[in-house]
């Protein structure tokens, strides 16, 4: 039986009477990449924000590494990290300085070496002394991923990590993430609107719709259940459309 790194039980979030996340329960195993899909407004980001301790749930429990998130916030946050296409690092300071600040925030031993290694892995060494605000969106996304890996996390939350990358860099990024996953047995919760990417990356997929989990399985099994029972290849694009258009 696999080790569970994340256990979510009856998670609910209401904002002024509106239920953004509705009684959601799921688990993520060590080394698993779990796709978290759904149309805009399905509750994906709210759920991720709750998993990062940035939003307090109305109800339900979140356990990470077997510990309650609310009770062990500092301990847990030091072992996880995240990257989102919708947040940024301070523009006025250099790429290297930004990473160094986060290396100190996560209390990384030998932070300079860690920062240099990550910059090299993401082909950013030549830009390390460039102000972050001068980086292209693709370079900034890669820098965000460096930040997300700074503490060598055991669980990584990735919110559309390749959305602003060109196909070449996006592919390299995916390959690098898969390599990191294999080498370190890292678990990832992965959101994306690119269904080919999700198929390539994810071991299992959860579909959210109107705050509820409506389907959860491997990409191929979901295709069989929702689109065509005789399917031999996953087709998450069709699965997504069928689910998103449900009333």
């Amino acid at each position: 039986m696999k080790n569970l790194v994340l256990e979510v039980e009856n998670l609910t979030k209401e904002f002024d009477g509106f239920r953004a996340v509705d009684n959601v329960s799921f688990e993520m195993a060590e080394g698993e990449i779990l796709g978290f899909l759904g149309p805009n407004g399905a509750g994906k980001t709210t759920t991720i924000m709750m998993l990062l301790g940035l939003i307090k749930p109305t109800n339900g429990k979140i356990r990470i590494f077997g510990m309650d998130l609310e009770q062990n916030r500092e301990k847990i946050l030091s072992r996880i990290n995240f990257s989102s296409a919708y947040i940024a690092l301070p523009a006025r300071i250099t790429a290297r300085e930004n990473l160094y600040v986060f290396a100190k925030l996560y209390n990384i031993p030998n932070p300079r070496a860690r920062v240099e290694n990550l910059l090299e892995s993401f082909e950013l060494s030549g830009l390390k002394n460039e102000d972050t605000g001068n980086l292209s969106s693709g370079e900034a996304t890669r820098l965000n991923l460096c930040k997300a890996l700074i503490n060598d996390p055991q669980v990584l939350f990735l919110d559309e990590p390749t959305s602003s990358l060109d196909p070449d860099i996006a592919q390299k990024t995916r390959e690098l993430l898969l390599k990191i996953k294999q080498e370190r047995n890292i678990s990832m919760l992965y959101t994306s609107h690119n269904m080919r990417e999700v198929t390539q990356m994810c071991d299992r997929v959860i579909f959210l719709h109107k705050g509820k989990i409506v389907a959860s399985d491997t990409p191929l099994n979901l295709t069989k259940i929702i689109k065509d029972s005789s399917a031999e290849e996953p087709d998450l694009e069709e699965v997504f459309l069928k689910i998103a258009r449900r009333k």
Binding site: M49, F82, P90, I93, V101
Partner: protein, 263 residues
Amino acid sequence: MSISRIKAVILQSLYNLRHSLEDLVETFFWPFIDVILWGFITVYFTRREGEASSIVLFLLGGLILWNIVWRAQQDIGFALLRNVWSRNILNLFSSPLTPWEFMFATMALGLVKIILTLVVISTIAFVFYSFNIFSLGPYFLPFFISLILFGWASGILINGLVIRFGMRIQAFVWSLIFLLYPVSAVFYPVSVLPDFLQKVAQFLPTAHIFEGMREVLSSGQASPEHLIWAFALNVVYLALAGWFFVFMFEKAREKGKLAKVEM
């Protein structure tokens, strides 16, 4: 409480200061202009009126000490705002950084920046107008500390409001402290104020400090009562502000506002 995390927040602001012209201007340029401008105004008064030398001292002393409060409050406010403007706030608070560590870091950083500002404006006041802020003698240090504590308390209070209500109230960061400017009796004694404002002034550490400053400048001594009141009020306000920030941080998490603080 992690020293490494506190250092990280300080380091981020120092990197910003090194790269940002606005930050340098905020730290040095406006205090410099203030002292030069008010210096000339007081020189003008000195020439027109025989007994105006004490007015020069009061005005310049008031100006330099008020800058301490203002800078202290701004430094705390900007440390948060810079992270909101750059959309980095979620990166910061999804790390193990706690609201308390963030507060301590901004206070430590503020102290460094205030000392730098103070050195610059005191030197200018001394060189151009022969005004020595240290003529306040042994009273200077407790005045200085007390004003910083009050600046921090108001900065932390404003940060709590920004975290909870978002950027729509960012104007507070610039202006809240100036609401207290007239009641703080920076350039005139509290007795000039109407009765009800005199009562309000009793609860402002700044009013006690500036009353004390005038006593020192005119007689060489301040009654300990002012200092004791100022410190006691500061301890209360700083504790309340710290509690308020953490309370608002938790409220923001509950309402989902931390994730949308830039709005």
